[in-house]
Amino acid sequence: MAMTSMLLQAQGITKTFVEKAGELPTLRNVSVHARQGEFVSIIGPSGCGKSTLLSIVAGLVTPDEGRVLLHGNVVTGQAGLVGYMPQKDLLVPWRTVLDNVILSQEIAGVSRRAARAKAMPLIEGFGLGGFASAYPHTLSGGMRQRAAFLRTVLFEKEVLLLDEPFGALDALTRSTMHEWLLGVWNKLSKTVVLVTHDVDEAILLSDRVYVMTPLPGQVKAEFAITLPRPRLYDLVLTQDFLKHKAALLSALRDSVALAGAS
């Protein structure tokens, strides 16, 4: 039973980048997992290998050691099985917002017409109402991220890997996005692995949070966020939230200090 609910696992992932300048041990024996319908965050200082871990889980980079399992099957190095939203929005300038978000549908062989018809009803819910036929450069940063997110959702996989989707946004827009994401996530019933270095974001959105160390990235701690759902943005002001925050922050600080000492 525990095995069947374990949707996604990365086990003992180790990766060293070999450059002309020398070897860069980036990930060391990292294991993370997500159960069906779970929202998991990975938090760590900048440059600790979070994006590398996600691209390994997405099958875009092959690890030196370790494996990735989906539904208990080994899928290491296989791309195209999970939804992946990279750090940059990567909307293409020659397609309208609508045609950008249906890119994965088109790749899957769905006709443009059918894909558009499928995407159109979602446009409004993703805060892009009225912008379907606009070009990406006319969109605000927050809207671009939502378009990129909708593109990931329309790939229609159970797992979504999100790499700092709100990292480039200002604090105000980011908090609006958090509130919005809390709302849509309920309806989407997806399993999410979110990479971030924002503590509030991790606590507010997640069921579980992994804390990583600076390079080479290792998992130093794991927290269950026991705050009840549905959550609203006001939660960040509550005593419960602050307790979680204090624990997470001290774990983060310890992990950084640990790396500095070694």
């Binding site: 020659w94 790749i107 969109l139």
Partner: protein, 282 residues
């Protein structure tokens, strides 16, 4: 509600234009052309004055008026030769676009093709076309073919080089995103690499358009019995310098026309390139 929201992108879109409108883009553009026209007129006036007051003979320095007369004397003759050259230039240009693009695609899609072809693509530009043109005539005769070969030889290069850069310039993360969505290599090429390379392709095509006319003249110079190159050659041999200048003017107009035709097609086929550049440079 959706109508109210629609206001926003429109507003952001007009913002950069609004900035330039204060200095009136229409006036700026037309005053640019006005200056261009003025420069031309000044040059012609100086030319006319020098020709009138210097002791140089007409066959050494014909005045603009005499050039105009040379054209007016035999417009049908010049235009007949011009039509031949235009046909060669257009055909050669078309073939160069096709070959140039095909080479770029081969070079970027296959490591083997890159290693096998790229050195020759670059080495081809060291070939002194003037020197081998006579040989081409021996090989291919006096017809259209040697001219096309010369034009292609000197115009495919900017197309290929620019397009290779364009295809390679695609963000590696975009390639990763496409792979993560299960895209095949063909889909990545068709949906991402090719569209992103289009602005580069057109840059190369504009260079090729401007040069293709010269290519046609090269080809005709060494072996032809019609075309502006042939006309130029025998006119200059007879010291009909005014005619030479008249033919050169016609050539210049041809080059301009071809260049602007390509620019026009570019604006029609990839309107997004200009808009995106506009925002990127803000």
């Amino acid at each position: 509600m959706s109508a109210g929201r629609r206001v926003l992108p429109a507003a952001t879109r007009t913002a950069p234009e609004g900035k330039t409108r204060r200095s009136s883009p229409l006036m700026a553009a037309s005053s640019g052309y006005l200056i261009s026209l003025l420069l031309g007129l000044i040059a012609i006036a100086i030319w006319q004055a020098v020709a009138d007051f210097s002791s140089l003979k007409q066959w050494l320095l014909p005045s603009p008026w005499e050039v105009l007369q040379a054209f007016a004397d035999s417009p049908a003759l010049i235009m007949r030769h011009a039509a031949v050259t235009a046909e060669e230039a257009l055909l050669g240009f078309g073939v160069a676009l096709a070959i140039g693009a095909a080479l770029a695609i081969a070079i970027t899609q296959s490591r083997l093709a890159e290693r096998a072809l790229y050195p020759y693509v670059i080495a081809s530009q060291a070939v002194p076309v003037i020197a081998i043109a006579p040989v081409l005539v021996v090989w291919f005769g006096f017809g259209l073919l040697p001219k096309i070969v010369v034009i292609v030889l000197i115009t495919f290069f900017p197309v290929t080089i620019n397009m290779v850069d364009g295809i390679r310039n695609v963000d590696p993360e975009m390639m990763g995103l496409m792979r993560s969505m299960g895209a095949s290599r063909w889909q990545i090429f068709r949906l991402v690499q090719l569209p992103s390379a289009m602005p580069y392709f057109f840059s190369g095509a504009k260079v090729a358009a401007a040069v293709s006319v010269i290519g046609a003249i090269f080809g005709e110079w060494v072996g032809a019995n019609e075309g502006l190159g042939y006309f130029l050659k025998y006119s200059s041999a007879q010291f009909l310098t005014a005619r030479v200048f008249a033919a050169i003017l016609v050539l210049a107009v041809m080059g301009l026309a071809l260049f602007y035709a390509v620019a026009f097609v570019e604006r029609k086929t990839i309107p997004w390139a200009k808009r995106a550049r506009h925002t990127a440079s803000q």
